[in-house]
Symmetry: D3
Subunit: 132 residues, 6 copies
């Protein structure tokens, strides 16, 4: 419910700062396994047989059916950076809703808030360069 | 943990406002599939072979085992509106706890806070008409 | 897919024998915690503020959204024993489908097979006394 | 483990027959909600802002992280029908594995068996017209 | 994201107060089943064939793969009280990450914040006696 | 239900053969990401700050609460190879049951069958060298 009470742009930057700071904390903790998983995770979304946008759409929808708000925010930002349209995003959220059921609805509400925050931020930062 | 820091009645109204505003946002986005799912979702809880209260109890317990706090809040409010007693609500939460395990406990704590907030609100609004 | 290849009545009895044999195995293993959980589990479905049928409907729908075929079979048999009609069962499965999404569909297919097997068995054993 | 013991092509046809027969059983049961959900589900994968293949890749990966073998089989067959290459399918399975973790591995093993069965069937039925 | 905005020690104490207050509320509600489950839950982590630390590590990793932040916080505090080293905690989080996938990453970020808050609190309260 | 119908030892060897054959199939498919994940997965259970047995107990309990029968079978075999006693295994299953709820019961039944099959196999192969 918090997202409704702060200006949306601030929220995306806060999310981004927190994500970056904690990733650095974890990657410098000295555990090789954690570090390698982080690397594998990044590489999974790099273009290969499938293009980046298709891979990110899989990231978005799997995150949604597993109800991970932070993961959904991340993939929505990436998809907006890659030029996804609102209609494409809505269609992906619709697949997630059908697959995952009404239990995804609160997360879909927050996803729409994130999409709106991205579009607002694009007015001054069209490629969302200030994020991720 | 937020619910502990604000007066409980305000929290229920904030939840309600956010839910309503975002539902309107989604239903006016132009995607037919999302709209139809929302309609199917509402219809699933309308009395048919089973009465409304039994259907809402299924909504409550399935939401609890899938650990969806917002869904639990919604169904608790509906059940209080339909006249469910504390004892009935506790029994339903107990089934959820047995089925879903200790992992539901933090959500059961929050459900008790919501029940208490509903009972508090009923002192001035007995049928919770100000909600949903 | 197995259920489609054996006569359905045999399947219900096999399920029942396996469930009984393994429960006995577990309850005689000497671990108090397991034994107490089994007792708590049974008690959760005994009539209290809510009647047995409502409690079983919660058991059915929570099992369905958590995609537990064996649990679904158990609660369907119990509900048929308690006199639930096909229409009531379909309505409960519909709530599960809305809450849990299309991912429940394979389990709903198997639930319909179980309902049909129960109705078939009722021709010679109207109260399903040979089960559970 | 069964899939390893029967010739793979027979398995795909058995899956298909069972799926079709039970869908018919459910759609003729008289419950409007179930019928409408089935329709919404089909429509979610029809080309709109996103093409059919991208939508099916979302269906595949969400099914995999939710560990639904039957759903995975369905979307793999559809993707092979739409011309997806092995490399594309492996990349999608890799995203699912990263998102869903090692717990998806048994389902990924079965997905590889399904891919191999599809490629085998394509030798006599290149567009898998005998399925779905 | 809230944890990043308040001093970490305060957060652990708030978590602790809320947990205690709501446990008391639930245990005094008069429902025997809930009370017995709480008792079974405590007993499950008492040393028997396995020592307390091993049992708590199972509590931590199962909570993490089921993405329950409050449960993770609880088991991390317990493990620090039992003398677990950072290296042991990181290794347990690594197993959770491998088993549960990238979807656990936001929860692993918050777990690292909790570990850091515990280490900070240990400067003035070495055995975390002010918690749990 | 199948496990009840075949001699248990044969079942463990079949599981083992299938697992090995499909792992080889996947690791030779040419996708680097899949190969690296398999390596990371193996390494996560190698002794470091925590010993092998503790790591395997985490593997067992996380697999159980995520209801992955094949993963549970694998970790039970590993734990028996590492000398775990029945009492230790029962205690770990009890933690899983408390955390994951009654929905794990069918999987706990199958876990007991696997334990019994391992003990039977140990009569001729005390260290289960014929497995994994």
């Amino acid at each position: 419910m918090g997202a409704a009470m702060v200006p949306p742009m601030k929220d995306l930057h806060e999310f981004n700062e927190h994500r970056k700071r904690m990733n650095e904390r974890i990657l410098s903790c000295g555990h090789q396994g954690l570090k390698r998983f982080w690397a594998l995770d990044s590489r999974a979304y790099e273009a290969g047989a499938l293009d980046e946008k298709t891979l990110e759409f899989m990231g978005l929808t799997t995150s949604m059916v597993l109800k991970c708000d932070d993961c959904v925010t991340y993939h929505l930002v990436r998809l907006v950076q890659l030029g996804a349209s609102d209609e494409e995003l809505y269609e992906a959220l619709n697949v997630s809703l059908i697959v995952g059921g009404s239990i995804t609805i609160p997360h879909i509400r927050r996803a729409f808030e994130t999409i709106d925050a991205c579009r607002e931020l694009q007015k001054t930062d069209p490629e969302l360069k200030s994020l991720l």
